[in-house]
Symmetry: C2
Subunit: 263 residues, 2 copies
DNA sequence: TGACATGACTGGTCATAACCAGTCCTATTG
DNA sequence: CAATAGGACTGGTTATGACCAGTCATGTCA
């Protein structure tokens, strides 16, 4: 008989019937926290689904919902007939899907920060107005920052947000090194991005980018362009990222959602 | 009252109780096919979940399972209180998660192909043996190919596969332009990759790569390194891809799985 | 001693049933 | 005529209960 896993995962740990979050989300968060905190070792075995049902006093459908999310995120994997196991993580940065620079940094025990490059209202060029469904030349907030990991330049980030959605955004002092744009969107403007479309490519760094990222030219950079939409399917912003390839590679964990055909 | 969607999605369309695939997978495939074939227009509205229940004669849990997958793949999106909508797709290549070069090409109506660069058995260098959990110097099959889209060079792909798992793989003539490594793994060796770990970065192309991809040096390339594991969690292969940035950018569709925090 | 059957597990699938909060049209009311 | 209150929908969440195929340790039989 395997030892009661209650010592690893607090019984009722974080499951609160009055919590506004859905139960499956709470289970997801509780399990993820246990794994991230190292209470469950890498390659370790999780309690079985039916044990989790008893631990958290929720139905199996709820447990399975949480488990499915964790599998799809690549955090755990399942072996039918055997159990659930914590996935070993790769060497570099631990990302699942593309996530917040800030949250990634914290998850990797690096301290995030930024230096302001530019913050003003501009008329959107066509390559910005089109994906945001705006009229050409419409006013957008331009926010350009050099993002730092432990004070080391890692990414050049430029955001464009329609002015209409974020009145007064530039009243804030964006030179403050730890201000988070997305926290501002959430808390001040109640804008919650729900889905996004991301394009990855590579190109040679411009002289300015190379200088900021401390790359000797000619240098290759990884580019990530993302359009985000809110829960009503309205475009929220356009983000362009220019990554230092060595200081900030990206890692994806994939799993058996649908077909896992490969290259 | 909205018109019966039965004209768009064949009633019982593809749902077969004797099909070995799970019901939710069949529903997923049927809906995906309807969308891909254009029976359901972009930004169009899908039948409601309860209508799908009647259409396919399955329970709502099954329909929701399929719907959840499609949402997570970014194919559709949901608006509570309103309905399910086909997601508009972006300009470039339509990828969801990283998928088969061959299947991506076909989905984008481009014809895939390859030119053989190298196919032989080598002793694995450390950077290959480590991720594959092999002893340093263990024998691996090296397969290096220049992949083509409509006969235009797009990606340099190099695979390493432990010899022990694929005896006789090199007996085949890999110079044949349309042979698929993963079809071979599936059909001949019954190896089914289930999950993978992918690292994306950028670097300057080597002279050979630049020449093959028809890029004038100095040129930046997008690199994708992937380790795949099978359903028993054994490493299957290591793939290194070198992408022509303009001919083969990558697109990801993300959705509200877990937290959609951003950069 | 070795091969085999058993049974207690595991995750995977599917059904039925209910309630909630949000959307949207419609009919009633002021 | 405008504001409001229903009611009929939507997807989102959760419960209970059941069966399947695979894994694995154990005990039995040859």
């Amino acid at each position: 008989m395997q030892q009661a896993p209650a010592s690893f995962i607090a019984p009722q740990g974080g499951i609160d019937r009055n919590d506004p979050r859905p139960l499956h989300r709470q289970v997801y968060d509780a399990l993820l926290a246990s794994i991230r905190d190292g209470k469950l070792p890498l390659r370790g075995k999780l309690p079985s689904e039916r044990e989790l049902v008893d631990l958290y006093n929720v139905s199996r459908i709820t447990v399975r919902h949480a488990v499915r999310e964790l599998i799809q995120q690549g955090v755990i994997h399942s072996q039918p007939g055997k159990g659930l196991y914590v996935a070993e993580r790769g060497g570099g940065f631990e990302l699942q899907v593309l996530k917040s620079f800030t949250s990634i940094a914290i998850a990797n025990r690096r301290s995030p920060g930024h230096k302001l490059i530019e913050a003003r209202i501009v008329h959107a060029p066509l390559e910005v107005s089109r994906p945001l469904f705006l009229a050409p030349g419409a006013e957008v907030v331009l926010l350009s920052r050099l993002r730092l990991l432990d004070n080391i330049p890692a990414v050049v980030q430029t955001d464009w947000i329609p002015v209409a959605r974020v009145p007064g955004l530039l009243d804030l002092d964006w030179a403050v090194a730890n201000r988070s744009l997305y926290a501002e969107l959430r808390e001040r403007y109640r804008i919650h991005p729900k889905r996004g479309q991301t394009t990855l490519s590579a190109r040679l760094a411009t002289d300015e980018e190379a200088a900021m990222l401390e790359l000797p030219p000619p240098a290759a950079v990884l580019t990530v362009d993302q359009i985000a939409f809110d829960d009503r399917n309205r475009p929220v912003n356009l983000t362009a990222l220019v990554h230092h390839p060595a200081r900030y590679p990206l890692t994806l964990l994939q799993s058996e959602s649908g077909d896992f055909t490969q290259y």
